[in-house]
Symmetry: C2
């Protein structure tokens, strides 16, 4: 009998750290916090169109969207950023209804340059409005046909490095160019990334918390198969989607021992999902880990007014009168956290974001990228490829060519 | 040794059918397809405001939202329907920015009448605009404090029957009243429900497919712990959220033998999530069932144009030129389905919706309600309560009163 499996499957923290350190040489996202943003900012200042439409899918849109929709409700931007991701014609035409196409900058993003959805949408848009150097920006690998198209037509192209994968590209030109165009402070985004990166690679607090969490998830992966994020602000809904892609596509893999790996990502929004998925967390099978994300200061002081007449006497929730909604939503988070901590067998942690700004969302997202890389090393998988989706692409191509 | 468990846990189809038939006497949603809608339609015709704002959370908003957002991209409604669900102040104020409050009908929905989020929002709105019989509609149980408030202030109130639970209330006044106000054909919704209900209770095709699927899910619940819906149209995004609540809150329960039950609901949108969660389905642990939902006719003939010059020669996806986006998205669904069917150990089925209208979305939703009821009977749980979330509500109340 032969058994070839690598028995030392769960490595020591030191070994994992060394491997992550080695990864910095070849995996591009680690270096992004330290890039020079001058060219991006100079170019963004030249864009004067009212609408910015990002045409891109998956890693080409989810990151910028997460940051923009986090910041949007508490900021006023002069330009509007829109994302055309899908080929659903109802969605496309519904989105375009509210847009003046002649006052729009089109940002076409595809790492490979041949993403079927993005190229099909680009061709459709080209039939509605003339696409030229005055209204188009292209972001792709230097060697792609899309970059060639840009060069042939004198359109500004930003090169995406080959070693920056789509779902790790939010802090590359993929995210920074469209965000800079609407006025997001991209240097402050990178400051947040640097804070986390330095702490991690100097084995500071972010290293300690990240490796501890990764180890827990890996050591208990058979028991806890679902990793739930419960975000207590609607402004984190797109962050949730970004996390699902990062997590699922990086960690749903066959490892070096030929064993299927996966911790399923699930996302919730509070307080809405207290009225939905929470019941299943509490009374269902105990196979879930829950991470709560709270925002301390939503920069909003809207108050639930105190009734001055007896008009509302028959209505409930007297005790919320005089509270700010900011206080109420955080109390709801605290009560839900408490109700889960009171159970046995539901591991739970809490991430508190100080306030709504570039620095804080970047810290959160860069730390999640490091967490996924760390788990990838523990699981002995390649966190940076996506071999499982190639089969479907080939089938589609054959169907369409037939 | 004593062992008190009920060994005949998985009942026969006949026994399940009899129990479901018995449930019709006490569970209100079964009767909703047969209600008289005259009062709702007559009242809805009197509403002339431009915006309709539903204030409600969970079961009070998810159903109407699913139907409205399914129909919206392919229909033109004179009024705009908005949903205020959360107490996140950023979301509240961002939503209200685009609304003329003096030209708004407020539909306040809370089954119990004391939902903390809904009542807090209602009080806040009352401080922005005078709420009276001319701009407010209330939907609640007859005995609630909210209905009392309506009666005291001469505001129109619709009674929600006590035996219709929130997540089964989409075809009651909870969903029908706001939908009728914007011009949705609510009788055609009920026609879709009737079609499914009659087929089910006459043991026709909907009975056969539903009980077969429920039995499969229950018999394999230890192996397949995640029930994934992969919807191939963005217009089904809110349907996906409705399904999560229906599924998680109904089925995440302790059963009559004291055993925790749960099949975790996960939702995806195609083609976007081909670039995200799909990798994990294909290469990750094989613990997922996937249901694809396709829409045959999106009522949209937007074509990807055929290039007439050589301008686009460096771009890929030549073979999508001349296709409609409607064809492309369905081919993408077919290719993804095929790529999953080519794997072993990923059970998969396909629901095809004929077209985008009231009849078809109602059929889908009513059938999902029956599926959940059927699974509930197999699992020997109460699918209609939500005891797990009460503890958090008590903690919150104590925190706020302190």
């Amino acid at each position: 009998m032969q058994y070839k499996k690598n028995f030392h499957q769960i490595k020591s923290d030191n070994e994992i750290f060394e491997r992550l350190n080695d990864e910095r040489e070849k995996i591009g996202y680690y270096g992004l916090p330290y890039q020079d943003t001058t060219d991006i900012k100079d170019y963004a200042r030249t864009i004067t169109k009212k609408h910015i439409i990002v045409v891109g899918i998956g890693g080409s849109s989810l990151g910028a969207r997460a940051i923009y929709e986090f910041l949007l409700p508490s900021n006023t931007y002069e330009k509007e950023l829109l994302f055309l991701e899908t080929v659903d014609p109802l969605e496309i035409n519904h989105s375009l209804k509210s847009v003046e196409l002649h006052n729009t900058q089109f940002v076409i993003i595809s790492k490979s340059g041949n993403t079927i959805e993005t190229i099909s949408l680009f061709k459709y848009l080209s039939s509605l409005v003339e696409i030229n150097s005055g209204n188009c920006t292209i972001i792709s690998e230097a060697k792609s046909g899309l970059t060639q198209f840009a060069n042939d037509n004198n359109i500004k192209a930003f090169d995406l490095a080959e070693n920056v994968g789509g779902r790790f590209s939010v802090f590359s030109v993929v995210g920074l160019v469209p965000l800079a165009m609407v006025g997001v402070d991209i240097d402050n985004l990178l400051n947040g990334c640097k804070r986390v990166s330095e702490s991690f690679f100097e084995r500071g607090e972010y290293y300690q918390s990240t490796i501890k969490k990764a180890r827990f998830l890996v050591e208990h992966k058979v028991r806890f198969k679902v990793n739930t994020i419960f975000s207590y602000s609607s402004s984190l809904e797109s962050f949730n989607k970004w996390y699902v892609q990062l997590w699922a596509e990086s960690l749903g893999k066959v490892n070096i021992n030929g064993t299927r790996q996966a911790i399923t990502p699930v996302t919730l929004l509070g307080p809405v999902d207290q009225h939905s998925f929470l019941q299943l967390i509490i009374d269902g099978i105990r196979d879930k880990i829950v991470t709560f994300i709270k925002i301390d200061d939503l920069k909003d002081d809207t108050i639930i007014p105190i009734s001055t007449s007896n008009k509302f006497d028959t209505l409930a929730a007297k005790y919320t009168e005089g509270l700010s909604f900011n206080e109420l939503i955080n109390k709801q988070a605290d009560a839900t956290i408490q109700s889960i901590e009171d159970q046995e067998g539901i591991p739970c942690d809490v991430i508190t974001i100080t306030t709504v700004d570039e620095y804080n969302i970047a810290k959160l997202m860069f730390n999640y990228q490091l967490l996924v890389s760390t788990i990838g090393q523990f699981l002995q998988i390649n966190a940076y490829d996506q071999p499982g989706v190639e089969h479907g692409k080939i089938i589609l191509k054959e169907m369409l060519e037939a």
